[in-house]
């Protein structure tokens, strides 16, 4: 299987969809945060106040960085940031599944807040990113 960096691309995402994402950014951040705090796989980790604070900050910064990298077609920069985030969270005992859940939450939110059909290309990029993270987790476990 290819490394996700080899396949992640934002070139299919239309400018109008990026603008809509930007307009809906606050709602997306709220929805992703809610998704993480409802996720039973993360409930133990996020019951700790410091972990909960970091999780909220992660959602905000990830959303900003995702938007910036999509807007300027910088998939490598997003992958660099996700790699940094992976190490940052691991050193703070976050479960490895946190980032895939974060990405899944964003896919749901994008689907919910962008008009039908307009979310497909952003969701496809998020799916590629999430698969890459899941692949990494399974490689580490193996």
């Amino acid at each position: 299987m290819n490394h996700p960096g080899e396949t992640l691309t934002f070139s299919a995402i239309a400018q109008a969809d990026i603008e809509t994402f930007e307009k809906q950014k606050e709602k997306i951040v709220t929805a992703v945060t809610d998704h993480l705090f409802r996720c039973t796989a993360l409930s133990d980790a996020l019951s700790d106040p410091e972990h909960a604070r970091i999780a909220r900050e992660c959602v905000k910064i990830f959303t900003e960085n995702f938007l910036t990298t999509v807007k300027y077609q910088l998939p490598e920069a997003l992958l660099d940031y996700v790699a940094w985030l992976r190490g940052f969270l691991a050193s703070r005992s976050f479960p490895p599944s946190f980032i895939p859940h974060l990405i899944a939450g964003m896919r749901n939110a994008v689907h919910a807040f962008l008009e039908e059909g307009r979310s497909d290309d952003i969701c496809a990029a998020l799916r590629t990113l999430r698969l890459g993270e899941l692949q990494r987790i399974s490689e580490v476990r193996a």
């Binding site: 300027y72 190490g87 050193s91």
Partner: protein, 210 residues
């Protein structure tokens, strides 16, 4: 004393949060003739990188990282106040962070290093919006604008700033430091004269631009 030993002593003082010891070390090395460029590039910057790495890996908390940063900030201020370089007329550099960027220590290093190299420096630090930076360039009329950037989230505002600067002051030389990602550099490149790879490179490149 070899530089690695000086770095070790300085990091130990920072780790204790010992301001007096940190300042005394710098004074002692200064009296023994340690050049500022070695102090900056071989001791202060590597020490800050170490503390940043330790925060990222959760070996130290954010307060310890801030304590180290504040001590270095005071040392840079001391160096700026006591500097005895000759400032050449007509060579002005305006130095500060891109909009939305709050990590301003790199710009402090650059301000000191450029003054050391004979530039007149106007240092505005961080938290300045696009419009105000553009207006300030009109007021101070620098030959060179040195911008530092660390965070990906600043890209949008930085691009807006650079587009406005290029439209308003086409002759202004612009240097950007802190970005290593080739694809990010490629986006800013049409508006930037040079990307600084390091403090030393930035000072040398400034000299060539002016």
């Amino acid at each position: 004393m070899i530089i690695q030993e000086q770095l070790r002593l300085f990091i130990a003082a920072l780790r204790e949060g010992d301001r007096r010891r940190s300042f005394a070390l710098v004074r002692e090395w200064e009296q023994n003739g340690l050049p500022d460029d070695l102090l900056y590039n071989e001791i202060l910057i590597p020490a800050l990188v170490r503390f940043g790495d330790n925060w990222e890996s959760n070996d130290q908390g954010v307060v310890e990282e801030h304590v180290a940063s504040q001590i270095v900030r005071h040392i840079l201020a001391y160096k700026a106040v006591t500097m005895e370089s000759d400032v050449s007329p007509g060579k002005t550099a305006m130095v500060g962070c891109v909009p939305d960027e709050h990590h301003d220590l790199a710009s402090l290093f650059m301000a000191n290093a450029l003054e050391d190299a004979g530039w007149r420096v106007v240092h505005y630090g961080s938290s300045a919006p696009v419009r105000d930076i553009v207006q300030a360039v009109g007021r101070y009329r620098p030959d060179l604008l040195c911008l530092t950037m660390k965070s990906l989230g600043c890209l949008d505002a930085t691009l807006k700033l650079l587009e406005q600067l290029r439209a308003t002051y086409p002759e202004l030389k612009i240097m950007v430091g802190g970005i290593s990602q080739p694809s990010m550099r490629a986006i800013l490149a049409p508006h930037v004269d040079v990307f600084a790879d390091s403090l030393t490179h930035g000072v040398a490149a400034a000299g060539e631009l002016a």
